[in-house]
Subunit: 330 residues, 2 copies
C-alpha cells in the first residue's frame, strides 16, 4: 500500500522502475504534468487515477475529485486545462444511480473549472474485482504566458507560499470512513486551484519558480521533492502553517503529522523574494485565497532537505511520508 | 458485465448516461478519439482502460495492449500518436516482477509504435480490490494530412476493407483462461495498426471515409455503429471474411459468431469505390497487411443495418453484440 501513498515508496517505484524502463520518455525532473510539443504547440499533459474510499465524503466525491485533481496538476504546472478524458473501471452490480451521480459530479466540476470532457472509456469487471468504481482522468492544457515552473530555477531567498489551511481532505476522508470514534465539522478542501494560480501567474508569471499541489504525502512530501530536485534547503516556519483546530486535534489524537496529510484544494508556490508580498496580496484578493500565507523560505542549508522551525527556536528535519497511514485518499 | 462489453449495452450506457450528462462536451458522433483544438492546433485525444484477464496471453499482455490499443484508436481516427500517459491501479501484493514485466512491455510497444510515454500515475488498492492490475492509457495524436474520418461522409457504393483475419485476440484470451477443454495454436493479433493506416492515408487520404478498429464487440458491432451513424446499409460478403480455421472451429464449438469476437490488430476502412483497389494494394504491400480484403460495400438498404450475404445467395441481418460472451477481453 505504501507504494501508492505518494511518499517515499511511491517515489522509489517511479524512479526505480517506471523511469528507467520508460527512459528517454519520462522527463528528467518529475513534475505533475509533462510538457510535450505537438504540431509545434507546447502542451501540458497529466494523468491521474482515483480510487478514493468512500466514494462520497463531506465536500466532494470521486467524480468531482477526478476533475479537480487533474485540473490542479495542470494548474501547478503552469497550464490551463482545456480538455479532459475519463476512463471508468466499474464493478459489476454498481447501481446506475451511483454512476450517474458521479458523472454528474464530473460534469459540474468541469463546468466550474471551465474545461470540456471530450471522451472516455468504460470497462466493467466482475463483482469483487474493483471497489465500486475507479476513475482515471487525463488532462491536456495550454501553458500560461510567460510561466516556467521548474525546481532548477529555485534560488536561495525565495519564499514559499501556501494557499490555505492544510489537512482538510485527508482528515475528512479518514472520518468519513467511520472507523474512528470521533466526529468533526470538517469538509474536504477539494476544488480547482486554477483561479488562484492565475491570480499570481497573470500578474507576475516570471516570479513563479515552482508550484505543486500537496496531495498524497502532503506538504512535507511536496517540499522534500522540491528540496531534492533543487538541492537547496526549505525552511518552514511551523507557526505560519494554517490549519483548522479539527485537523490539528485529529492529528494529535492519531499521532499523524498534518504536514503528511493530503490536500485537494491547496497549492504551494515558490516565488522570487521581491515578488512574494505582491503574490500573496494577489492570492488573498482572489476568492478562496484569503487564507494564503508565506510559510517558509529557501536557504542553502540543510541541502536537499526540509527543516521545520518552531517559534521557540527549536527545529527538526521533516522527511517525506513513509508508509501509508491513510490509504486510498484520492 | 454487458455494459462493459462494447456492444449494445455499452452504447446505451454511453448514449443514455455519459453523453446527456456531459453534453456539449462530448462530440456528436462517437468516434474512437475526440478532436480538440488547443493553441490553434488540431489534436486527437483518446482514452482507454485495460482490465484484460489473464494479464499475459499468447502474443501479448496487458501492458503491450494498453499501448497498442490507444495508438490504434488514434490511428483509425486519422491521427499519429505522439504522446501517451498511463495510469496504474495495482492490487496490494502484486509482485514487482509482474509490474516490471508489464512496464517493460509498454516501453517495448511504445518504441515499436514510435510514441513516447511522457507521464503517469500509480494507485495501490487493498488485496481483493483489483485483479492484479488495471492500466489506463490516454493518447494524444497529430492528425494526418488531408484525412477526415467521419461516418457522415460515407456514400452508397463505398467499399469496406478489412486489414486481416478476425477473432484471433478474443479466442486467444478465451483459451488462455484455460476454462475450455481444447487447445489451438493461436496468438492474439495485438499490434499497432498505424503503419497499415498510413499505407492508405499517405497515398490517398481523401479516399478514406471512415475507419474503426473492431475490438470489443467485433466487426459486427463496429459496422452496426457505422450503419447507424450514416443511415445506410452495410452489406458484408460472408465468404470474403478472413478467418483462421482455429477461430472458426472455436466459434462453432462455442456457438459464438466470429463477427462479434474482439480483435486487437485489425481495422476496418470504408473507402471511395474508385480508390478501393489502390487502397487494398497499398495495404497488401505493407508488412502485416498481406491479408487485407474487401469484405463488403455500402448500399442504400437495409437502412442503418448490417446485412451478411452468403455465396449461396442467403442473407441475414447481423446486430451489435448483445450481452457479454467474453468479459474482460482487453
Amino acid at each position: 500500500m505504501a507504494h501508492g501513498a505518494g511518499g517515499k515508496a511511491s517515489r522509489k517505484l517511479v524512479e526505480g522502475l517506471f523511469v528507467p524502463i520508460l527512459s528517454g520518455a519520462l522527463p528528467k525532473s518529475l513534475n505533475d504534468a509533462a510538457l510535450v510539443e505537438i504540431n509545434g504547440a507546447p502542451l501540458a499533459i497529466t494523468a491521474d487515477s482515483f480510487v478514493v474510499k468512500p466514494l462520497t465524503f463531506p465536500g466532494g466525491s470521486i467524480g468531482e475529485l477526478a476533475v479537480n485533481g487533474t485540473m490542479n496538476d495542470l494548474a501547478v504546472s503552469g497550464a490551463i486545462g482545456k480538455a479532459l478524458v475519463a476512463t471508468f473501471v466499474l464493478e459489476e452490480g454498481l447501481p446506475t444511480s451511483v454512476l450517474e451521480r458521479e458523472v454528474r459530479a464530473m460534469a459540474d466540476a468541469a463546468r466550474r473549472a471551465g474545461v470540456s470532457i471530450v471522451g472516455g472509456d468504460t470497462k466493467v469487471v466482475e463483482h469483487g474485482k474493483a471497489d465500486n468504481m475507479y476513475i482515471g482522468t487525463t488532462g491536456i492544457g495550454q501553458m500560461m504566458a510567460g510561466i516556467h515552473v521548474d525546481a532548477a530555477s529555485v534560488r536561495k531567498g525565495d519564499k514559499v507560499i501556501l494557499s490555505g489551511p492544510i489537512g482538510d481532505h485527508g482528515i475528512t476522508i479518514l472520518l468519513a470512513r467511520g472507523d474512528l470514534d470521533f466526529e468533526a465539522d470538517l469538509r474536504s478542501d477539494t476544488r480547482c486551484v486554477l483561479p488562484l494560480v492565475q491570480a499570481i501567474a497573470s500578474e507576475m508569471p516570471e516570479a513563479i519558480r515552482w508550484m505543486r499541489d500537496p496531495t498524497r504525502g502532503g506538504v512535507a512530501t511536496s517540499l522534500n521533492e522540491l528540496a531534492r530536485d533543487c538541492g537547496l534547503g526549505i525552511t518552514v516556519f511551523e507557526e505560519q502553517i494554517p490549519m483548522r483546530d479539527e485537523v490539528r486535534g485529529a492529528c494529535e489524537l492519531l499521532g499523524l503529522d498534518p504536514l503528511h496529510i493530503a490536500n485537494e484544494g491547496q497549492f504551494l508556490a515558490v516565488v522570487a523574494p521581491d515578488a512574494a508580498d505582491r503574490a500573496l496580496a494577489a492570492l488573498r484578493g482572489t476568492p478562496g485565497g484569503e487564507g494564503a500565507v508565506i510559510i517558509g523560505e529557501v536557504r542553502e542549508q540543510p541541502a536537499s532537505a526540509v527543516l521545520i522551525t518552531t517559534k521557540y527556536g527549536g527545529s527538526r528535519i521533516i522527511d517525506m511520508l513513509v508508509g501509508d497511514p491513510l490509504p486510498r485518499i484520492c
